[in-house]
Symmetry: D2
């Protein structure tokens, strides 16, 4: 990818939207799909069932760590790391003859407000090289924390990561979370407020992996990054923000994206625990 690509969109809870940069540029969701599919799992199964399979604790380990699975309960620590996200995707069930994958695509499309598609080249590439994710899936199968078919689950997971969006799409999804689940353009309540609260909570404590603490400390807003260079941030009650710039740091976060969010939060005093927010 051209490392100079850059795009950012703010979408308010009223549905107003402002973009700068390469705003038509498509990129794959990658890990930004994790909290979204997690909210779909909550919708299908409720909080209790989902969290009988995956925990809610930050790990202190990298996003793709396999170590934690050998420890204690063998349940993935949380749905924001690879193991927990694969376990979450494995829970999605087909409805009314619509396949699991189609359900995921439909759900994310409705959140974004337009039909989204999958980049099959990205899907094929991930599928061939994802030995670590395969290792994770087999280990979860071994520990009986994943009961679905491994190949189907991994295919669904690689497909959800390969869904193409713009920052406009991702900001609309973030804005839907900022309104506690009401899509700001269609006004449809797509997620229940309680499920949004749960999703934002996990994004806040675990969304930025082993730098989640630092993010909470410096930014203080629920966010999720993807290795494609995307970050989306939810400012509850106010707006959703999405940034895209492909150059990522050692933790897999967009370098420019991170700088923009940190700057914006500081200038607008958006930290969830700061004065600007609580008054």
């Amino acid at each position: 990818m051209n490392p100079n690509l850059f795009s950012a969109t703010v979408t308010t809870v009223n549905g107003d939207s402002f973009s700068v940069g390469d705003q038509t540029q498509l990129f794959s969701l990658q890990s930004t799909s994790k909290p979204i599919v997690y909210s779909l799992a909550l919708k299908q199964h409720g909080t209790n069932y989902v969290h009988s399979r995956v925990g809610v604790e930050p790990t202190g380990e990298a996003f793709n760590s396999i170590i934690e699975l050998e420890k204690q309960s063998h349940r993935p620590f949380n749905p924001m790391i690879n193991s927990g996200a694969i376990a979450t995707t494995s829970l999605i069930r087909s409805e009314n003859g619509i396949s699991k994958l189609q359900l995921i695509v439909n759900y994310i499309s409705e959140l974004a407000g337009r039909p989204l598609s999958i980049d099959t080249d990205i899907f094929n590439s991930e599928r061939e090289t994802a030995h670590r994710n395969r290792a994770i899936a087999h280990l979860m199968k071994h520990f009986d924390v994943m009961t679905s078919d491994i190949e189907e689950t991994l295919d669904n997971y690689f497909n959800q990561c390969s869904i193409l969006v713009t920052t406009q799409d991702l900001a609309t999804i973030a804005a839907t979370m900022a309104t506690q689940g009401r899509q700001p353009m269609t006004n449809k309540q797509l997620i229940t407020p309680d499920h949004v609260t749960k999703t934002l909570s996990l994004m806040f404590t675990c969304g930025m992996y082993d730098t989640a603490g630092e993010w909470a400390f410096k930014v203080g807003l629920p966010a999720k990054s993807g290795v494609s260079g995307a970050i989306f941030v939810v400012v509850p009650g106010k707006f959703g923000l999405a940034v895209y710039s492909p150059k990522v740091d050692d933790h897999g976060h967009s370098v420019r994206g991170r700088l923009l969010v940190e700057r914006l939060v500081q200038e607008l005093d958006l930290n969830i625990f700061s004065l600007g927010t609580i008054q």
Copy 2:
């Protein structure tokens, strides 16, 4: 301690206060002193210096873990676990001829709005049995993350943990954090808003140790518990809450305290990411 003891106080940002139960019962701060002394360290040294010595990441380990210190940077993960709290206390410096310990007592007294004292029996008991904390201190000395005198630092730490308060005192401290640093009775600005934000952020992600994620998920408010049976919770912009009941669970959290907070948050819709809060 009598396990049936129970006390709870709410103090609003306007200084109004409501208590129930054994409201005159004194108990020692224990780990609830950690975020308070942390805010004093920020006041004396600023954020950058303090965090050159102690991190901001949740650990996934228990509050008294020593394992993490052997890993990577040897810097304690955060100021809410024992290693990080001892490192934080080691940073407090005397001012104008006032000893480090007296400064800590004065600072917490000013936050509580009345002069507090130390339970020397508790101090002596902790001092004699704290082999794990001594191990932590020596290991930090070995790694040069703690440069102060070990015995003096541990004595100050055990003393800060042995300061006696009521839920009224602790709720006032919490309310001071809820106003971004203005003590609601004296109207003095005792902590800068930025330092309150930092303190609340660390309480949110790390305050409840290896159940911090679960607490954020279920309660969604900055809080800190102490093994004496105390929990204090900050509802930013609204009120501070303190609960005391001596029976603690395996993680060192007050059993009744936890139940009360979970119930209250649900009934009043106080989760920081929920509708009641953001509108």
Copy 3:
């Protein structure tokens, strides 16, 4: 398996052989195949190449641990645990049009002194349930410590584990190691003395997994156990011993096999560091 089955054979360096119990009972090699195939890898590639892929250190972890692979070099700790054994099997190359698997079977047959065969039911059963071994293989592929085809390698590994032997066969293999590589019945030098020394060294320090230290302490002889209930022991310069009894303990060692070996070593003063051995 009938837990009352029991068989033991001693084969001396002169080729004399004594058996007791169910001596015609066939059982699968399982992990006792690991040091044997390791010696074949040494023959094909030499010590340096083999150990560029797999280490020589005991782990302190269980035989099927995956944790160690995430740490440091990502190279399996040693060829006696599953990860290292799969990596070792992946190194075997076909020769003169003979397939890798056939080469392994031929080699072990020559050591045992008769043609051995594979139990396909056991092979199929292992193949279907071995999610942990699959996880290990994918993780090694991810870290580039295994470069061969995963499915082919795992099939070869499951097949080598499913080779059927009697204690007579296994004792002959052990006796071949006791003579520094000369098969005592055929007098063929099947392994070079240096490769035998290397193999015995790894059996001694790592052969009994996380109880290797205890085994060295109590028994003091190179040995390898398999989860089928087999143990073979090498008394250098004297004889090979094989025991079979299907009931295994928590570490995967035959309960009766272990007792017999411990008793025999004590009565005959066979510990490699004891008086009987060194004089």
Copy 4:
């Protein structure tokens, strides 16, 4: 220390002795004292009691690791690493009014065949800087695996590490182990054969710390190194070898000492599992 210092001594089971280099040079025992004091603990308490306090397994961690103590049983893995050696020293009891330390000095002197003394400068220096060992001691006290007084135990441990010897002394101690406990000059049986066997077994599997496996693989003889630059090696039934050269590698082993031992073992075919040894 002058890194060019070098001394080596071989002492046979008959008491013949050959030295090269700076053979009068004194150096402190450091960790080479560990197996020696361990054999004294066996003499005073027997194998079962000693190993109710300290294990027999190699760790895969560095010599001064504290991590393992937090895991599982909290018992140190083995007597060759710092935690296990401190625990072992804590078991030594005074006899007939002779202090614990004096007993240790007397015992090692009798093994060496001459009265040894302690370098108090080294002792004082270790005592002041040993924060990691203090951390280990406090953690063992916390877990109740060490019940003796911490300061007295550490003082005894630092003193035993500060005993001054020549390679001649250390080779005589090694030769005493090579004869299964009979001091080759005085012909006194100072250690029982069984305790020698136990000591050699632990030196073999754990004596060279996290390179114990590599040492067993390349050298194949029981050995122990000290950070002062000393290594002693036991060739059971044949001779004891001691080398001293102060430059140590990252693992704390003498660089030249290691090279000399590796060369000698290869040329004389001394590996315990090799042809030269077993025939």
